[in-house]
Amino acid sequence: MLFFSYFKDLVGREVTVELKNDLAIRGTLHSVDQYLNIKLENTRVVDQDKNPHMLSVRNCFIRGSVVRYVQLPPDGVDIELLHDATRREARGG
């Protein structure tokens, strides 16, 4: 549940989601669920030449299982906190 909690705290922030098919979508994180499905608002495609169809999309729902990376705002990342939390999570605690 670690990343679910973590992303919940990032709701409202700008993120870029890179999918496993290489598509990258930037937008405001609207919501996330336990499967790390992501809903973005004000979306725009990062590489418009590769995916012109997506230009018009305002909001989108991205299936958690197709996400490769979620790029975070630098000030949205508390490395110490993440470090401890992931360590604890890995121990099963």
């Binding site: 098919n21 669920d33 499905n37 230009l55 729902f61």
Partner: protein, 234 residues
């Protein structure tokens, strides 16, 4: 369920022509939207048709041709969105991306040369165009809800999804002590994890691994241990 878009021809009886669902496995119809066109890849829209959204999949059935229908499971829908910009597509629609079996390059999504020979399993984009555009937000919402009903199936065998693998050694290593020392860090001793996290049991386990693991024994010692009668001096 098969990955990707596929043909769907199983319709109920004669009259309503609703899709046959897998009710034995709990599939239910969630929403029906009449007067919806479907556009696969770059092809022009197929119309008229009816959209059926179930708890497992999205089905479009042609109103004219009873043998024509398409379906895609929510497990295969990578993303969906409401598209309203006329520059991207002339009609407001639900835009979806479909995950295909061997996700090749984007341009494989449709057979633009041959009109009818379309390999459905390679379609990566699908647009659903309702004649009533005011329904788009509702449809988007329903897509979201049904997508959430279809998370990735979990592999059997672990609770809480803790199926972490830390090194290839772990795969061969049939350790009996998997219970309290869940983490096997077969890494070099400079790795901080076993040392710095204050959990003494874990630290001890990591150190023990490093000290007693046979692979780290000197070759000489091993020879001596296994072959006590023949001394081979270096």
């Amino acid at each position: 369920m098969v990955i990707g878009l596929r043909q769907f021809m199983a319709r109920v009886g004669t009259g309503a022509g609703e899709p046959v669902l897998d009710t034995d496995n709990g599939e239910e119809l969630v929403h029906v939207q009449p007067s919806v066109s479907i556009a696969l890849g770059n092809r022009s829209p197929d119309t008229p048709g009816t959209l059926y959204i179930t708890t497992k999949q999205v089905v479009w059935l042609s109103d004219l041709d009873r043998a024509k229908g398409y379906a895609v499971g929510f497990l295969s829908l990578s993303l969906h969105a409401v598209s309203r910009d006329p520059e991207a597509y002339p009609s407001p629609c639900i835009y979806t991306q479909i995950e295909t079996e061997a996700d090749e390059d984007d341009s494989e999504d449709s057979d633009s040369e041959c009109n009818d020979v379309l390999d459905l399993s390679k379609v990566t984009e699908m647009r659903l165009i309702p004649s009533d555009a005011s329904q788009l937000d509702t449809l988007f919402q329903i897509f979201c809800e049904c997508a959430e009903l279809n998370p990735e199936p979990i592999e059997e065998g672990e609770e809480g999804g803790h199926n972490w693998v830390f090194s290839t050694d772990q795969l061969e290593d049939e350790t009996g002590e998997g219970d309290d020392a869940e983490c096997h860090f077969h890494q070099n001793p400079t790795n901080l994890i076993g040392h710095s996290n204050g959990d003494h049991d874990l630290a001890r386990t990591v150190l023990e691994l490093q000290i007693h693991d046979q692979r780290f024994e000197d070759a000489e010692e091993m020879e001596r241990v296994s072959d006590s009668s023949h001394h081979q001096h270096q």
